[in-house]
Subunit: 469 residues, 4 copies
């Protein structure tokens, strides 16, 4: 395999080695470009180098490392100077990426200034570099997630508000139950998305912390300067300094995974609803159309719910990946064997899928094609059965709940068996007409009259939204 | 199978039907009696009945249901009046427990007062009863977890404080790395347990909410009274009223599962450490002894780490159960088909295992037998190699970090190959002795002198603990 | 908690202690009575005792244990003589069930014959007893699964044969695609169920083996008799003797779990299809009706697909439980710490859910109510679009595949936009009518003429079924 | 981002567009180059094109497609002619890779021969192309796995044979139990690896089948030729023709995942054992050394078990990925929404990790450094306790099993408490010396005399191995 042109030339000029970020074949389907870049190989290297540069700066600020050395180190902390493929093969032997990266970095710094090379990575260990680098990636990734969650909340709020009075068949156990409104359905989605935002804010102080402990977490290599260095490092990176290193205490990163798991679960619920409402036989909504979107290689008429499929795929995959993060928490002693390594690709993969699912949902929700006529028509397919509860409640006021329920159950069975409308059956039943007139029944059997608190509930959800400053 | 004595007799007196809570064969190993009772069949029925009674009271307070009816309903809302086995078989047909339970309840209320029977479950749906009942169980279960987390934190804090200066071999990748203290290890555990407590407090407002929406979430059966009833119901039960029903938005309960997953992950990490330190060849700690505990059916000398095994079993099982809760979030429309049902046994099972793991850890930590002599002895098994970094850092100040690292690497290899102490090898190396005297080396090779910030870190963790009021 | 009447009385008569098998509240919904009994607490104890009795018999046969001792041991190997609750609490201390059970057994044998007591469990270890007991349970459980798989295959074969020519809308991505037959759908289900049967047969020789290795797998306690005892034991129990003990090599039991995982996955697919076809708006099939089945506590008209919901719940839960069995395979040395213990409740739970899912599927399939009229009607809801491919292929023979596809895509869009039938649109298009007459189009737009090889495929699947002897 | 040089030029010569296979940063650590290539983007495209070419050839053979068209199609079915990045973005819109790939392919064929273009993908659907392509990848991937399994079995057999009499401390619950041999441990590993080979052979006829069904599985687009085309296609590709398409019946591919899950579980068990034996305090084995392998960025003396860590990481990740494949089996109707898409990256990821784990295990086992002296020394660390069972069994012949067990239990406790050797304690006990002389005790307390059937068991396992032809 051909390599990119070689590194620092004899002329002393740095040469760029790292190739552009590669795209996996299914990346554009399953994730966003922005999230892909946060966890791209080059970003992985760069955040590790960011740690290394920050450490040198912090130590220089405290007089532990000479200023010239820190400057020389910082100058070489650029991912594009390194050959990721070579590092990849060296990492396979070393067991992690930090070791070959540091070796290369030290060599390059040393070519310019042998003395400075001696101060690379002063007092730190591989995991400090890898974990803090990860936290820097998490911070960017979280910002992307939060932004898209906010956008999605806006789009859902718009839907909820616009359709708070649009009647829709409520469905339980995949059977029509009683009428709801499309706005209430959207408000349910919105309510859950709103809680995701709260969770992300709460976990921030736990997740965005520096990792710095040295070989076994005592920072012994730095002697009495240890905590001052740690403080300065955290300050430089804009991260919090935790009370103790967390090399083998992984709840911080596992919690991030669980938050993503909850987010993707909620997105999966939305996608399931959308795709069911988009079924040929239901036809109440449709994913937005676009050239080349959702067609079939063989069926000219197909418009597949590609967005929902992608979200549902993520919702099938992410729970298991979250379980891996939880299982990986059982790490040995001061640094684990297998558990830590299991995290390396898993957490980025969860972000990758969550970002994709979020973007797809945003796209679907923002461009959703809504057929309110069809929603109304579908309320009639049961010939009144969907309003059986309405009549039963009205009748219960006269004859008690259980007898009313039994009477309606029989009436529903009769209507269904004979293909008649429930209205007819009820109008022909003296036990009903004794208490309810034909006009009463007409009113009771109109879905628009049996929407309960749907509108108020939508307004409660909308009122709950955090106010902009 | 024999039944317990039959129900309400002809004389009008209620008879107790429900048998005492049964114990599964592995319950005492895998959970606590207290948690078993929270999720016992009888408690399941009782919390559903608590909802039903509270609803009747709330509706009576608002004048929607006659006071006598509410009183009659409440009088029968006692789980011990019902035959769980009969309900179990009826639930298999009905699809959930609420339907047969309500049918039985209505029948019994009706035997006393046919009119009152008509007001049972007024305006609610099965899932309102089942979910709110679950939340009532969660509230008790969470209290148990929180109490044990607090006890465990106390026990860990005591360990951390007592051993903040007790040298111990730090181990990474299952290899001795550099010295730490046993107190630092305990402080790491404590720090993670402390974060669990914070998480539980944060999720409380999201989790402890009433479920009340009626058939499809609109509370239509209650007409204009809907939100007032909901408010009064929540008030009666001491739960928060959420902005909208959450029949098919399951992040609330899934989040509880993830919090338990994180807790069990941390407990698994502690158990892994304890069991490794208790290995015959390491012998630094031992689980507390007790008659009949940890013996072998065939080996007279065995003392098995039963507590750790149980915790590790939970840590193997819970991540997957959490993934089920996340996967189950994808629920259809207003109420789901399969997802909701998948939760029913899964969330209790997670609590069951978490409670057991917590109790076992508490027992192990509180009674841990600690052999500080063996800890010290084990620091010598590498013949000085464990302090190679200490010497390397000292030498680095003279010859730079990379050369010092390389020199020590060679010295370590020589020492290991020839079975010599690192001290000897270094004392015989002019590149070393040029900069470090024999006394310097003695000092550097004493683990007590290379504990870094261990003590300060322990104190930081202890200082972080929430203050008692 | 009250205990059952106490054990062996002073009069020397044995007294029954073990209570009848208890039922958990959701057992009848999620499993079968037969499977519940296979893994009931009492069966767990009995199979362990069966091992112990068989070992004594085998050793007596070889002259290692006196015949009278074997007889005395065997006489007490009855689960109903033991108090499961007391054993449960002792197991919590001991770490497994075998230790207290053996202690009790030895005490009881000793009350009758102190000499015989010395030969209880001769040369075996706890895990031999527990694992072989498990294999005895697996054998029964597997027989139950296999029988129901065979019954389900018969029911599916009947469906497939009866409906091999019944047109049905084929659906992909939840959109109508092209016509299929209902028989072909059933044949797809049948084909998968058939493969499950094959898998079960293949794994039998790996799974149904005795576990016998003594303390650490060498059978050292039996000296030179070891393998002869092992052989005789296996023979007595009708199990195969594996080439070596498998205390910490768990692929045998994990494989059983994966086979169940595949079975439940296939059942979930069937349930998903049934529940989608049963939607109010589709109405092509319905789960069989029965009194008390699938009603609602509030909606008189509801008929919920309870069977499908239960199967889908199992299909949501079992994959994660399988992952636990796989994760638990990483067991330490000669016997593991945590992994083995993680299996104890997990594998029975998988069987429990699989049996329930299988029974529910069998019930649904055997009693499925099929509405072939509705199937036919639903083929018309797209106004001909579902046959777009048929026309495109016919046209492709004249103008090439891509132009034909593009032409039909445009025609479909036009038909959908204007609410016209595809026939009309095509008949008005000269590029079409140039090649296809109105009669051609009529023929092409009849679903019955575009069923391809559906019937042949059904017959291929039916022909594939194993022949009865 | 820069693109590679553009496609077919005006001069009519094909130009290579597809870039060389990219390497992800952790690929060399977590997988093999060979497996990476099997599932590389280019291979993904190529196997889909292989299907397309084979279909054209098969249809030409049957006279359904003109020979010149098949030739033109085949000529363009080369992955390197396509721009994977462009396809990736188009796939994101289309929902799968087949649609844009076919569009591009058709365009290119059409540039050369417009008539031929009309025959691309004749009668097939996207999923036929994608799934059959996947099966072609699985066939190659399976061959790689099988080869490495065979190599690993050879290496393990060599270990088992060489050390069948090498005493080693057997350990249960992480405590020394009784002596075993290192060969017996290796034979246990070998036995499990042997079963993996059998499983792979058994699933082959189920897994290596063509997917061919057209739009909804009826092959309707091919009319009466359907099954003949399917047969010819399968024949061309060397795959079996299944009795019916399996678009939404996914047990075939899920089963492959479970087989990999079992394999990785067994590898994880080996890695756990190796890493525990390699602990600083145990030191019985070490992973093979190599320059740059397993060092530390800060500790000069470290030799980390990099191979075991990698395998354990895989064993933490793969179970969850398998659960995804099982959960994804619940696919809707004729082709699923979300489930199928969830497989696309999951199954390759499982192969990726399994191949890496297998290669790492092979490397570790083949080069394992074994310290039989240390194995022997470690048998002494309990001062005779590890042979307590041996003495107990000898004593049991005189005083019965339970009294002997109790006596030894007390003796062990005394020895441990006073730091004395078990021999001393026993020699001072008249209840022992009455039956066992000092010489008897010496013999009983020699591990070499208490290896039971270890050697025979090793030979049984070795004899079980399949014979070479």
């Amino acid at each position: 395999m051909e390599r990119h042109a070689a590194g620092p030339g004899r002329d002393g000029f740095l040469r760029v080695l790292s190739p552009p970020t590669s795209i996996r074949l299914l990346d554009p389907l399953f994730t966003t470009d922005a999230m892909r870049e946060v966890f791209a190989d080059q970003a992985r290297l760069q955040t590790m180098l960011d740690f290394t540069a920050a450490l040198a700066r912090a130590e220089a600020r405290l007089g532990i490392v000479p200023t010239f050395a820190a400057a020389a180190i910082e100058a070489h902390c650029r991912a594009e100077l390194f050959d990721p493929q070579a590092l990849a093969y060296q990492a396979a032997a070393a067991g992690n990426l930090a070791i070959p990266l540091l070796k290369e970095l030290t060599a390059r710094v040393g070519e310019r200034d042998p003395q400075a090379a001696g101060f690379v990575h002063w007092g730190a260990t591989s995991q400090d570099m890898i974990d803090t680098g990860l936290v820097l990636q998490l911070r960017r990734a979280t910002a992307l997630i939060s932004e898209d969650l906010a956008r999605l909340a806006d789009a859902l709020a718009a839907l909820a508000a616009a359709h708070k009075r649009t009647p829709l068949a409520g469905r339980t156990w995949l059977q029509q139950a009683t009428p709801v409104t499309f706005g209430l359905k959207a408000a349910g989605w919105l309510s859950a998305i709103g809680r995701e935002g709260v969770r992300w804010r709460e976990l921030t102080p736990r997740a965005f912390v520096v990792q710095f402990g040295g070989a076994a977490g005592t920072m012994a290599a730095l002697g009495d300067d240890a905590l001052r260095v740690a403080d300065a490092l955290a300050d430089d990176l804009g991260l919090r300094l935790p009370e103790t290193p967390w090399h083998a205490q992984r709840d911080r990163v596992a919690e991030v995974a669980t938050a993503l798991g909850l987010t993707v679960g909620t997105l999966g619920k939305i996608a399931r609803d959308v795709s069911l409402m988009m079924q040929t036989e239901v036809g109440e909504v449709a994913e937005p159309d676009a050239p080349g979107r959702g067609g079939s290689s063989t069926m000219p008429h197909k418009r597949n719910p590609v967005g929902s499929a992608t979200v549902l795929a993520a919702a099938t995959r992410v729970p298991a990946l979250v379980s891996t993060m939880l299982a990986a928490m059982v790490q040995e002693h001061e640094r684990g064997l297998g558990g830590w390594q299991a995290e390396w690709e898993t957490l980025p993969e969860i972000f990758r899928l969550a970002a994709g699912a979020l973007a797809q949902t945003l796209r679907v929700v923002a461009g959703l094609r809504i057929d309110t006529v069809r929603m109304r028509t579908n309320l009639d397919v049961t010939h009144g059965l969907i309003l059986a509860e309405a009549v039963a409640m009205a009748l219960a006021a006269h004859i008690g709940r259980a007898p009313a329920h039994a009477l309606l159950e029989a009436a529903c069975r009769e209507a269904a068996a004979n293909g008649r409308h429930l209205r007819e059956v009820l109008n022909a039943n003296a036990d009903v007409t004794k208490h309810l007139s034909a006009a009463d029944l007409d009113r009771l059997l109109d879905p628009a009259n049996y929407l309960g608190a749907a509108e108020q509930l939508v307004e409660r959800v909308l009122a709950q939204r955090p106010q902009e400053p």
